[in-house]
Amino acid sequence: MSQAPNTEGARAFASFILSDRGQQLLFHPDIRKLPIKPSVYRNKPEGYFNPFENNPTFIYNGRKGLTRQMQQMEFYHLALAVPQSRHQQDPSVQRGKFLFIQSQCAACHIPQVTTGDFPQLSVLSGKTIMPYSDFLLHDMGPALADGRPDFLASGSEWRTPPLWGIGLANTVDEQAGFLHDGRALTLLEAILWHGGEAEYVKQQVKAMPAQDRQSLIDFLYSL
């Protein structure tokens, strides 16, 4: 940097990062990043990706390389199906679905949305999906606030996360927690962390008879 108090030290550090030794550190299993120095790949671990392979002019052509991979990755994610909801005929699940709408959870966790035009993958255009989200920002109160503004979101605003597939979270990862930082161990705990715009809805859930609350949770686990 122009104001660097230790220019010599800065030069030493930058030289070290770009040296063979520094670049080879990137192969370390805790790091696993791609060195920028093509010659370092001579000592790469077996099976390690070399973006400069068959590219002796050191020009990394995005169209041939990274961009194509990114497009394939994006297409894979776009084409992935959402888990099917389960136990929809279960009376408790049906009661829970009714309570989910009645207690206004569905005001933000909107069950049904129709997609717009999506020329990139036309089968996804005009499709009715069940994400249980409005995909909008809401102030969730001080208990959930991280005090970190991100682009349009203030430090206490969060985007409504879709709930589809949430019932399988613990099937995928036994240790999975809920909410943005995984702090809630159960779905009920996650509900009780809601505040701000969702304070009223949380109070509705707290005031429910225990059996209704269980039905609501059963419904969430069916998604």
């Binding site: 940097m1 122009s2 104001q3 660097a4 108090p5 230790n6 220019t7 010599e8 030290g9 800065a10 030069r11 030493a12 550090f13 930058a14 030289s15 070290f16 990062i17 770009l18 030794r21 520094g22 550190l25 370390h28 805790d30 790091i31 990043k33 920028i36 120095k37 093509p38 010659s39 050191f58 020009i59 990394y60 052509n61 995005g62 390389g65 990274l66």
Partner: protein, 131 residues
């Protein structure tokens, strides 16, 4: 009382000398390991590997790491904070912005065997390009 005074008086000179020596020594050791302030967004796993290897190769330097995510780093640079020696990050847009702010100085290090651009993004300044 008199003897205590005598002992105190007798110790005063060596203790003072010792203090002067300790001060000199500590300043020497500070001068010996000059700190290099590196701002980065890389996680601990990455930084600690590089820190250990760098300090091993350059024992005269001690790394001081400032962790800042891209946005926080820009806020840091825009306000008058303590100056940083090296900004080490994958946030390429920050580099473009900082260059417009004239926040960099030429490094003048050897860049042989390193690509000049990556996917069309220039990795170095014109004045360091090999002729």
């Amino acid at each position: 009382m008199a003897s205590a005074l005598t002992i105190k008086a007798a110790l005063r000179w060596p203790i003072q000398t010792l203090f002067i020596w300790l001060m000199l020594l500590s300043q020497m050791s500070l001068a010996d390991t000059a700190k290099v302030v590196v701002m980065t967004s890389y996680p601990q796993e990455v930084v600690s590997q590089f820190e250990a290897a760098f300090e091993k190769q350059y024992p005269q330097y001690k790394l001081e790491v400032l962790w800042r995510q891209s946005r926080d780093a820009m806020a840091y640079f825009k306000s008058a904070h303590h100056p940083v020696d090296v900004y080490w990050t994958p946030a390429q847009r920050n580099f473009v912005q900082l260059e417009q702010m004239h926040a960099f100085q030429p490094l003048n290090i050897h860049l042989e065997g390193l690509p000049a651009t990556l996917n069309g993004f220039p990795l170095r300044e014109e004045y360091t390009l090999p002729s």
